[in-house]
Structure formats: C-alpha cells, structure tokens
C-alpha cells in the first residue's frame, strides 16, 4: 500500500511540472534547509527514530551507536553517503553535464558539493550496473533515465552507512530510487530507499533546492585526521552495551518512549492515535529543559 502511494506521489510530481521534456538540471543549486532543520543541521538526537520505517535489527544497531566512535581516526573523515547526503547540513551542489565530445550525446550528470565530497555521477548512457563483486562507494553507482519531464535515478553499490546521523543504519544491499523534477528555478527531489536488511518499508523523503547564480561550489577539501585520544587501545570500537535505552529524546520532548522507536507504523498519520493512547497509558516523564 505504502509503495503504491509513493509511486503515485512520484507520478504526481512529474505531472505537476511544465510539459517540456528532459529539462536540463545543470547549474548551481542551494539547498533549502528549513525543512526538518533540527534533524539536518544540528542532527537528530540520540534515540530519535521517529518516522523511520526501521526494523528490530536497525533499532539494535542504532541503540548501540556511540558518538565517540567518530573519534576513531578511520571514522573522522567519513563523507555523507548517497542515501543520506540530502539530509545533512547544506548540501549545496553543482550539477554538470558530461557530453561526449564527438557525438554530443549526454553521457552523465555529475553532482558535486556533498558533505565530505562523495560526489556523485549519474550515468545517462544506458550502461548496466556493476557486478555484485564490484566495490561499493559512498556515492554508489547511479544511472538515470528521463521519465516524462523528470529524471529518475537508480543507485546501487552504496556502502553500509546511515540514513540518519544518530547511528540509524543503512546496509550495502540498499537500493535508492530518486526523482528529480525542475520547476523553473526550483529543484525537487523525492528519494526512496529500499533496504531489505534494516527497513520494513521503503524510506521516503523529499528535498528542495533553488537555483543560485551567485554560488560556486569550490574544490574538494580533505578533512584532517588527528589523534583525539591518547589512551586509545588498538582496535578500539566504542559502543553502548545491549539493553541501553536512550530516553533523553523522549524526556526532552514529552513523548512516550515507545513513540520514539520508529517502525513502519510510525510513518503513517494514523500513528498519532497510537501516540495518544501511549500517552494515556504511559504518561510522559516531566519535560526537561534543553541542556545545550
């Protein structure tokens, strides 16, 4: 049912635009980060899985995620993966056409400027996706096709990473479908992530960009990796032990703890009734003031 709604939504997005087919997406685009700003700029709080159709395995992995792991030298410079990049802070991007110099054929779009610069390539030349034994990357392997006047992008070969910046995982088996539709100087993206390992239903998100003629995405700058902890033993992997419950988010926003745990039911509007019931059965603990 949900999948049907998603595809119907995608169809509406495409129909709602002007009739000109294959509207070029090249240019500098600045992101609208006011949508879901707390999740996107500061980042989701520990234990906040609201509205994510995650399964029990994902919940356990997210519960064990300890932000201290970002002190590992090998984790400090990780870029945002393709299945998340649009939810991070300011993914202002430049789309560029790659045109075959001889035939003039559109071979690919590149999208540069994502956090950590896992810049993406969207192949438009009909090439197949790679072998299952090929390397997976943070950008993944994307192919595009014009559907009506929008661009449908299919991405495979993404690394095991995250769909939210508080440890909610995404596996390397995930497949992402995106629809990009240009309405004049606005660019709308609908992203659908299917992950048989960590999601019970597809994760659907939207994102907006505005054409920015005064923007110029700069060169890729490497992050510097530094020693943050002196007593770190070899192979140090910080994580919360099994059974840890992150109740701070529920306390802070006056929510029943169960309502913060996500799951496919929590995606639908009807879940508000469940939250009301849970609130009656388990009155939230007194709201705490933010401590930041």
């Amino acid at each position: 049912m949900r999948r049907l709604l998603v595809w119907a939504g995608a169809a509406l997005l495409l129909v709602a635009s002007p009739a000109a087919a294959q509207m070029d997406l090249s240019g500098e685009w600045v992101a609208h980060t006011d949508e879901d700003q707390p999740h996107r700029v500061p980042g989701a709080e520990l234990g906040d899985y609201t509205g994510l159709p995650i399964n029990e395995a994902a919940r356990q992995k997210a519960d064990s995620w300890d932000a201290s792991i970002l002190s590992q030298p090998e984790q400090q410079a990780k870029p945002h993966p393709a299945q998340y990049f649009m939810r991070g802070p300011r993914p202002d991007v430049r789309w560029t056409k790659i045109v075959d110099p001889v035939s003039g054929r559109l071979m690919a779009y590149t999208m540069v400027g994502t956090f950590g610069r896992a810049d993406r390539t969207i192949w438009m030349d009909g090439r197949p996706h790679p072998s299952e034994f090929a390397e997976h990357t943070y950008a993944g392997f994307s192919t595009g096709e014009w559907v009506d006047n929008g661009l449908k992008v299919t991405t495979t070969h993404m690394k095991t990473a995250f769909i939210q910046r508080n440890g909610v995982p995404s596996s390397y088996r995930a497949v992402m479908t995106e629809f990009f539709v240009r309405h004049g100087n606005n660019l709308l993206m609908l992203s659908i992530v299917d992950d048989p390992v960590y999601l019970d239903e597809p994760l659907v998100r939207t994102q907006n960009w505005v054409l920015a003629e005064d923007q110029h995405v700069g060169p890729a700058i490497p992050f510097e990796i530094v020693d943050e902890l002196a007593d770190r033993p070899r192979g140090w992997v910080p994580h919360w032990p099994l059974g840890t419950t992150h109740i701070e988010f529920a306390d802070r926003f006056g929510l029943p703890f169960e309502a913060t745990r996500g799951g496919k039911a929590s995606v639908y509007p009807e879940y508000m009734k469940t939250i009301e019931r849970l609130t009656r059965e388990q009155p939230p603990r007194p709201r705490k003031e933010a401590t930041r």
């Binding site: 029990e56 395995a57 994902a58 356990q60 992995k61 064990s64 792991i69 590992q72 090998e74 984790q75 410079a77 990780k78 870029p79 790659i98 075959d100 110099p101 071979m107 690919a108 590149t110 540069v112 950590g116 610069r117 896992a118 810049d119 993406r120 390539t121 030349d125 790679p130 072998s131 299952e132 034994f133 090929a134 390397e135 997976h136 990357t137 943070y138 950008a139 392997f141 070969h157 690394k159 095991t160 995982p169 596996s171 390397y172 088996r173 048989p196 390992v197 960590y198 890729a220 490497p222 992050f223 070899r234 192979g235 992997v237 994580h239 032990p241 099994l242 059974g243």
Partner: protein, 366 residues
C-alpha cells in the same frame, strides 16, 4: 645490443598489458575521474570473457585484477614478467580460471600464493601450477655460446636441476603441515597440491612485475596458516578468508584459528590501508569471498566483530550462561548481512563463548 632488445621487449609487453586494461576506460570515464574523488570505480567495468565462462574479471587497481564468481576470489597481478595469483580456486574450475587469466594476460603464471588451508582456495594448485612456469628455472632447450643446457632445464648455477617446472606455490609452513603427513603416513592431500615454497617467519617478500609484494603471515586468525598478500605499488591487499563479506569470519578453532587473531588481522589490514580522500578509494582490499573493499568497509567489518565479541564478553563477565547470552541476541543487528546456514550468528556466539572461557593463551609476538 642484447640488453637493448630485452628492454624493448619488456616495454612492448608492458604497453600491451596497459593498452588492454586502459581500453576499458572511455573518455567520459576519464573526464569524470578528473573531477571526482571516487568515481568511477574501476571495478564497475568488467573484462569480457568467452561465453559460457561463469567467472567475472574485475580491475581492482594498478596491476591487480580479481577473478570472482567462483568458489573463492582470486587476485591476479599481471605485468611484463608474468602472472602472479593469490589463491588458485578449485581443481574443477581450473580451466575456466585459466581462460579468465588469459583474458588479461598472455604471460605465464609464475607464482601462486596460497592464503589458507581451504580447498576452495588451493584446489587449483596442481593444474594452474603445471600450466605455469617456474621463473627460477632456465627454459628447456635454451642454447647459446658456452651453454650445455640443450635439453635439461636448470637454474643459473645448476643446469641439471630437478627443480619443478611449474609455477612456484608459496604458503606459510603451517599450510604444508596441514596438507602433508609424517613419512609413512597418508597425507591429507596429494603431493601435487602441496606448496612448493614455504616460510615460517612473519613475512616473505618478492619483487615481481616491477612491484614489491609482501606475504604476511597472520598467526591464529581464520586458521593458523593464513597469509595476506600486499601489493605495494598497486596498493592492493588480498586477505584470504580473514575477510568474507558474505558471512561472519569463519574461525576454525580446530585448525588453530581464533577470534582474537581475526581481530588482530583486521586491525593489521586497517593499519596497512590508506584512503585516498576522506575514507574514499585508496588502498583496495580483495577478500577471500565477496566484493572489493576499501578501508571504510574493513572498518565496518572490524567494528562488527569487535562489538559482537564485546557483547558476548560482557555476558561472560557477568556470569551468564551460553543460552542466556544467546537470548540477548548479540548478533541480531548483523545477522541480515552475515549469518548464513553454514556459519550462523549463533555459531559465531558459540565460537566466541568457547574462546573466552578458555584460559588465556600467551600473547603472540607481533
């Protein structure tokens, strides 16, 4: 004059190999490569094989390719001098493997490195070895002024040498011990499958195809005979079954393996690998089974093993029984990726539990 001719021959062969490889990259690929940190990934291209061959040949990096789709992965280093294999697959697949090798090089197989005492890795030693050439033996029938070696092969100082003709097969000594038997007893494997050159130190090195190659013995990991091969110039590590992206690492206690050794080995790989830019690209890793990796993937795999080990250890430290620990489901978040019928999450828990309940073994000198 002779030296100049040899140099030209080497150059021509090198160019032939390079042309064959670079022909896979289109001008578009090169344009994108010039502006991206990780795109397009080399392994997204496949080398064409004759129809009916179920294997796949993927460029990894530099002079190294991976043959996949068989019982185990095979890393192949090619160059003007010849071909070096890391692992040999099974005997049943040898003809197909030879066909795959010929798709990227027409030079002879000179060396095979066995990474582990599992038959899906060394079963092809005999056929691939015989199809190859021992680079330390002068070619049969080589003649020249002053030469006496008209028929018999021989090394430089020993023209009547009885050295084997086929490729040299390297392995850690423990691997030979696990295949062979004391005099008078029946060996596990026939002589023809045995490695021809073993080492018992931590590392053995050779230079081949203008590249330094380190064979690193990893004590007590998947087994006690595991070897990784590090191609320094190509910047590729072939790990054998220390890494299997299709399942949890199999720890064979009966053959000297250990969880602690696997974690040590994974940390070794992370110390060797260097990303090119922000955890992307850089050193590539060819695992014993599964897909090509870089450091970020190895870190994910190491973190998984460490977290599961720590969860089981916490249960043991708290005095929980094996069943109580299993009831905590310490592998739940990774089973969807790594649990397979032949080596489930529960089996891994058993292995960790058993090892943690054993008296601590003396630390290995590293």
């Amino acid at each position: 004059m002779m030296r100049r001719a040899a140099a030209w021959a080497c150059l021509t062969m090198s160019l032939a190999v390079l042309t064959r490889v670079s022909a896979q990259q289109s001008p578009t690929d090169l344009m994108i490569q010039s502006r991206s940190q990780e795109q397009p990934q080399s392994s997204a291209r496949r080398i064409a094989l004759p129809s009916g061959n179920p294997l796949e040949v993927l460029p990894v990096q530099g002079s190294v390719f991976m043959i996949a789709g068989g019982p185990s992965n095979i890393a192949v280093q090619v160059g003007a001098e010849g071909v070096l294999l890391v692992d040999a697959g099974t005997a049943e697949m040898s003809d197909k493997i030879l066909e795959a090798i010929h798709a990227i090089s027409d030079r002879p197989i000179n060396y095979i490195i066995d990474t582990t005492p599992d038959k899906d890795h060394y079963g092809g030693n005999e056929k691939l070895g015989v199809a190859g050439v021992n680079p330390t033996v002068a070619p049969r029938g080589l003649t020249g002024p002053g030469s006496t070696a008209t028929e018999n092969p021989g090394g430089g100082n020993n023209p009547q040498s009885l050295r084997p003709q086929g490729a040299i097969v390297f392995a850690n000594e423990n691997l030979l011990n696990r295949m062979s038997a004391p005099t008078g007893e029946t060996p596990i494997e026939p002589f023809a499958l045995w490695p021809t050159s073993t080492f018992f130190t931590r590392a053995k090195t050779i230079s081949f195809n203008d590249e330094a190659i380190e064979m690193l013995h990893v004590p007590s990991a998947h087994t006690d005979a595991d070897v990784m091969a590090f191609f320094r110039k190509s910047d590729v590590v072939a790990t054998g079954d220390i890494i299997n992206t299709l399942q949890y690492p199999f720890v064979d206690h009966k053959r000297g393996g250990s969880i602690r050794g696997v974690l040590d080995a994974l940390n070794d790989v992370i110390e060797i690998t260097v990303p090119r830019f922000n955890q992307m690209a850089g050193t590539r890793v060819v695992p014993g089974h599964g897909r090509i990796l870089n450091e970020a993937d190895v870190v994910e795999y190491r973190d998984m093993m460490t977290i599961i080990r720590d969860r089981v250890k916490l249960g043991v430290d708290e005095g929980k029984t094996r069943q109580q620990i299993k009831a905590m489901r310490p592998t739940l978040d990774y089973d969807g990726l790594y649990s397979v019928p032949s080596w489930t999450g529960e089996m891994l828990i058993d292995a960790i539990y058993d090892e943690l309940r054993q008296p601590a073994a003396p630390a290995t000198a590293r």
